[in-house]
Symmetry: C2
Subunit: 311 residues, 2 copies
């Protein structure tokens, strides 16, 4: 059997990195020859998670066709979020919890998507279906991924299956999910010493909406004002990012993980569908105030998609 690489999306978050490690381990236990790799280095939260459970970050790759003929995607499927040379390899399997778009294959494949809060929740089920035990270290990592994606079960993306997986994985890992979870999320909110350019790129995804190239980034914080006191820096960084990468529109979510509210800074064109999507005009600071919004996938992208398509 040929070796296969397993990886999550660009700008990897904890789930993108952990899901690749967990799925690769499962496949290898079942007799495959896979290696988990990553399309970027771990962010602060993921570093904290890897340290906590004494795990090593996967090797970072920029291309894959130079190494393998077949790849396996986790936590994403859209081409623009994936490896640059994906059209030169065959995608043989996908495990994901996002919408499907910009994804096409020549051959039948294994595709497992479920509308749950985290890829690692699906992978927990796959271990059960295959009767493979989840090692203690991986259980801690997978627990961390679900805490990250569901903001400790506060995100509306959280399902009963995510809650059940958190309970089970916390028991295997031997940690208190609530206590550990808050420490993990706080570890991801440290912005000191980081440039605005780095912060807007750390957790960002691109979407093609009615032909427009839309970038949606998210910064988690325990104090929204702590971010927006540097708004001028962020505006400059976003305008540079738009110009350099051809983004038509940049939508920066600044999310308070303690009270689950978001303020979004919006720069680019067109603004009208953005205002229509959230039924409010941008305020004087070019921001939208979005109480209760924490999920890009469930509370931002579908709303933007619908509004852009109605233009």
């Amino acid at each position: 059997m040929n070796k296969q690489l397993v990886f999550g999306h660009q700008n990897p978050d904890t789930d993108a990195i952990v899901a690749a490690m967990a799925y690769s381990h499962l496949l290898n236990e079942l007799g495959a020859d896979t290696e988990a790799v990553a399309l970027g280095t771990p962010n602060d939260e993921t570093k904290y998670v890897l340290d906590c459970f004494n795990a090593t970050a996967p090797r970072v790759v920029e291309t894959v066709a130079n190494e393998v003929k077949e790849v396996i995607l986790v936590d994403h499927n859209e081409a623009q979020q994936s490896v640059a040379d994906r059209d030169q390899v065959q995608v043989v399997a996908v495990v994901d919890h996002h919408r499907i778009a910009n994804f096409e294959t020549t051959n039948p494949l294994y595709y497992r998507a479920e509308p749950v809060g985290c890829t690692s929740t699906i992978i927990t089920k796959l271990y059960h279906e295959s009767n493979i035990e989840i090692p203690k270290q991986l259980a801690g990592l997978m627990l961390s991924a679900i805490i990250s994606d569901t903001l400790l079960m506060k995100s509306p993306t959280t399902t009963d299956e995510d809650k059940a997986a958190i309970k089970e994985l916390a028991e295997i890992a031997g940690v208190d999910a609530n206590k550990y979870g808050l420490e993990e999320l706080r570890a991801g909110t440290n912005v000191d010493g980081k440039s605005a350019a780095d912060l807007i790129d750390a957790d960002a995804k691109s979407f093609t909406l009615a032909g427009k190239n839309v970038r949606v980034a998210q910064i988690n914080t325990v104090d929204v004002n702590d971010i927006f006191k540097r708004q001028a820096d962020f505006e400059t960084a976003i305008k540079t990012a738009n110009a350099d990468n051809g983004y038509d529109l940049f939508f920066l979510m600044v999310t308070n993980i303690l009270n689950s509210d978001t303020e979004a800074l919006v720069i680019g064109d067109p603004i009208a569908p953005v205002e229509a999507a959230f039924d409010q005009k941008l305020n004087a600071q070019q921001r939208l105030v979005l109480p209760g919004v924490v999920s890009r996938k469930k509370q931002v992208v579908p709303q933007l998609t619908a509004a852009f398509e109605q233009q």
Copy 2:
């Protein structure tokens, strides 16, 4: 919970009809409110199968948005093989065993594809995963679908999982899979009294290959000459179909189910990539001779796709 319709592809074959019935039953057992429908009437083979197990064909629909907001697809995903008004409803789940193409959603969904021979094999697994018993009647129907799609395990699409499902379902249904299977396949080969136009449309799918609209149809037979003694009729029917539906190219597979060989009649443009795909020129009858070829999905469409993309 809102009612959801479950259906297979246009020009339904046995799996398209049975998988919808089987998945709908499973979902309803799990508490959903679904109805299996079909995008066409049963073919001769499917009629034989339904008669054998005293089952009623699902209701035929032409549109769905007039009835429901949400739908579930089985045995297909590509838009041009699905219901005409699919863009007006939300696809909340897919169970399929084909490549993924021309498929895009706004929201996360349940998507279960596996590279096995038949959708009903995957649905057999879903019953197990949900701990729901497969009723005797449905077992007979699902067995028939797997026999149909795998040509009684002779197709190269057949996997160990298909074989295991056939064994299990035959036991539940109380039939001899090999004896019953040959009768079932023979029931689908009766061409007496059928027009060439009907025969080329009975099991046909459209594909967009490098911008060309390619129709690939398949007729199963126990005697290839029995079909080609009417070649002039087929040529006329195909030219009419191409003109009426905007097909650039029509690829008609005539497959001998007893010895697993195919001859293909090819009419339209461009011919060069078709000849490149199978490394032979069309013969004087505009046919390709394809020994050992029985699977459109595995032995025809990927080869055509690759050749068209290299044009």
